[in-house]
Symmetry: C3
Subunit: 136 residues, 3 copies
């Protein structure tokens, strides 16, 4: 299997980080197959949404409404405020998604981008694994 691990500097900022460029580069020349985007973190997820038109921040706001950052609600509450919520996020936005690739290009729609959703300010660097399987 063709697999590629890279890191993304998220700094100490919460939010949505676009991975589409890396996904496109990884898929290039690979023909047809299924591409998996996976983040080996317990406080982040992977989504396919529109970016650059407000919906990336809207997603983070929605997550904060769904998973309030009031640590008294959570059993898991060491660390920075909101850390309990961070650990529930991957239950709602899974850390794994599959994107079909056709003729070396992710078959994304016009308005779709592959993103890392990272609510956590404590981890300035995140790891992403891209994996590709094709039919032989």
């Amino acid at each position: 299997m063709d697999t590629h691990v890279f890191t993304i500097e998220t700094g100490h900022r919460r939010g949505v980080f676009d991975l589409t460029g890396e996904v496109v580069r990884f898929a290039a020349g690979k023909g047809d197959g299924l591409l998996n985007v996976f983040v080996p973190h317990a406080t982040a997820g992977v989504a396919v949404i529109e970016t650059g038109a407000g919906s990336d921040d809207d997603l983070m706001d929605a997550i904060d409404a769904i998973l309030p950052r009031d640590d008294r609600r959570y059993r898991h509450r060491h660390g920075s405020p909101g850390h309990g919520a961070d650990h529930v996020l991957p239950g709602i936005i899974a850390p794994s998604i599959v994107v079909p690739v056709i003729d070396g290009r992710p078959a994304l729609g016009t308005w779709q981008s592959v993103v890392l959703a990272d609510p956590n300010e404590d981890n300035p660097v995140r790891t992403v694994r891209l994996s590709f399987l094709h039919q032989t």
Copy 2:
């Protein structure tokens, strides 16, 4: 890779649209493998739930409770009312799911159907891509 794109007429209705028939037809005769259902849209998702017993509408109600259709909440708010919420939906219900196929049949449970979750009244036609990989 065996891949098949089709369209589904959702009209101007919001809701859950059953894709199981198309998935079953696509899998027929294909042996064992993994089947990906992907929608190239930024305002729709794919889910596996029971249909025909109320849960399809219950899912849309739950989504509307989680993502209220009050556009003042969203940065992305051009277009029809609720469009900001529509764009967050794929962060909660991803536009991609994998279903195992055994002997040419999706290995769904008795009460499982593959559905398109489409909160958007503006797009009367949606595109779905089915892709299948098997072990050689």
Copy 3:
């Protein structure tokens, strides 16, 4: 395709049930590929989260806040209290996830476990299907 079905005794307890041990055993010796975890149930999901530090129960609490177990809210409301909510859960926590496998080991992060999220007290036994595709 290498595929393996097993059952897990959840008893009449609601909650998160760790599947990581089974996933690790299934992947062992299989080289590199994509592993799908699928549950053929309409009232359960599969997630990748941290277990054993409170987040498993936090996830169930979050689900109960998102999907209140007041059956008057749901069209689907036969059976035990909360059954309507149980049927919406797979729309939020999908019954399918893909995990990359590298050299016979799931490429999970240190704090990640693969779990069954089961809000339902009525089904004491659940079925899980693991499927693995590798590049030939």
